[in-house]
Symmetry: C2
Subunit: 226 residues, 2 copies
């Protein structure tokens, strides 16, 4: 559909919420791309060449020019393939809010959830749970329509995909309950709607494998500390 | 100069590198604004109302609508007052790189420098020094012209202002040497050029007071740990 824009390559890992963000954005835009699955224990020479600073996925390579950092890539995709499914709002103030909230998810929600789930020290873990609940409450209050983007998915929804799909898998793996229908009815319903969106649904990892991955991470952090 | 865009208010703290970023951007654009100095030990009701999520400076209020997070504000300023001194490049790929590097400064350089300067544990502090030198080296390699923005100041220069002015003050306060002419000749020269730019120069805090502030911070973190 967007073939005339040249060659698009994506380096990702199936279980990575950050790489999945880019896949969802590309598919919402109808962009054809070649996908390369990385093995993070044995990173490819190309990944290290394209992202020498962070050495992480995702990396998008457009006509030979690499870009890293998922939120940076999402904005690039929106500015490059601008005629189909806007990912950021049009007005400067709304764009700024979308940037604010997508950063908020990465800077506040994700670290809090990780602390609540995988910290060994009980006091720290309880603090993580408290911070997670606070940060989810702030998102709950912010959710005024079906999606953060209104009636369609925008960059905040894509960033928050972690909360819709990865968080419930973490909860199952480590025996934690944060995102419940009772506590956060709007966010809970949003999570169901978001993960059932056809393009999102086909770009999510296999749930069982993800739960297994988080169980192993939980076990290894608890073993390492003994 | 830009009076027809309505009322612009900025809530900041004189010593904050993040609030200073916004002042520099507004003045590069020739935007008239009203400045409110906050006392972080006794935050104003307005600051808490305008930034309930982070409760931090800077907050920009444009025609009654508040925005927080300095890099988000810089992009908003660039998109709103677009006819004078671009702060982001015009092409999507260059814009993405500018976003990448300004985030890199906040996510990598600043935490490493803070760790090197103010961590009490010697091993952690040495690790911070190593990470600081690595992250400065990456910026040194990235600096290909007079400024990160080429011949004029862009968002990366404004974000890196911390390295040009605050870092040397921290070095003096805690007896550390990171940004030297010998190790990083391009970055060192950039720091001198950047802080001597007339608009930057008039929007920097008083050096002596800043050194005093960091000396007190260093002393209090060392006392607290005993």
């Amino acid at each position: 559909m967007a073939k005339d824009y040249g060659e698009v390559e994506l380096f990702g890992v199936g279980g990575s919420p950050f790489a999945r963000r880019v896949q969802i954005a590309l598919e919402l835009k109808g962009v054809q791309y070649t996908y390369f699955e990385e093995d993070l224990r044995n990173k490819s020479a190309l990944l290290l060449k394209y992202n020498p600073v962070h050495k992480k996925v995702p990396v998008l390579v457009h006509n030979g020019r690499p870009l890293a950092e998922s939120l940076v890539i999402l904005e690039y995709i929106d500015e490059t393939w601008e005629n189909h499914h806007p990912i950021l709002p049009q007005q400067p103030y709304d764009r700024a809010l979308a940037r604010f909230w997508s950063r908020y998810i990465d800077d506040k929600c994700l670290p809090a959830i990780s602390k609540a789930a995988f910290t060994v020290d009980k006091e720290e873990r309880d603090k993580g749970t408290e911070e997670s609940l606070e940060s989810l409450q702030i998102l709950e209050n912010e959710l005024k329509h079906n999606f953060f983007g209104g009636e369609t998915i925008d960059i905040v929804d894509i960033a928050a995909g972690f909360i819709a799909f990865w968080l419930p898998a973490i909860e199952e793996a480590v025996g934690l309950k944060l995102l419940t229908n009772e506590k956060f009815p709007k966010l809970y319903k949003w999570g169901e709607d978001y993960t059932n969106h056809p393009i999102v649904k086909k770009n999510l990892p296999q749930r069982d494998r993800l739960v297994g991955f988080f169980k192993a991470r939980y076990a290894s952090s608890n073993t390492a500390s003994k």
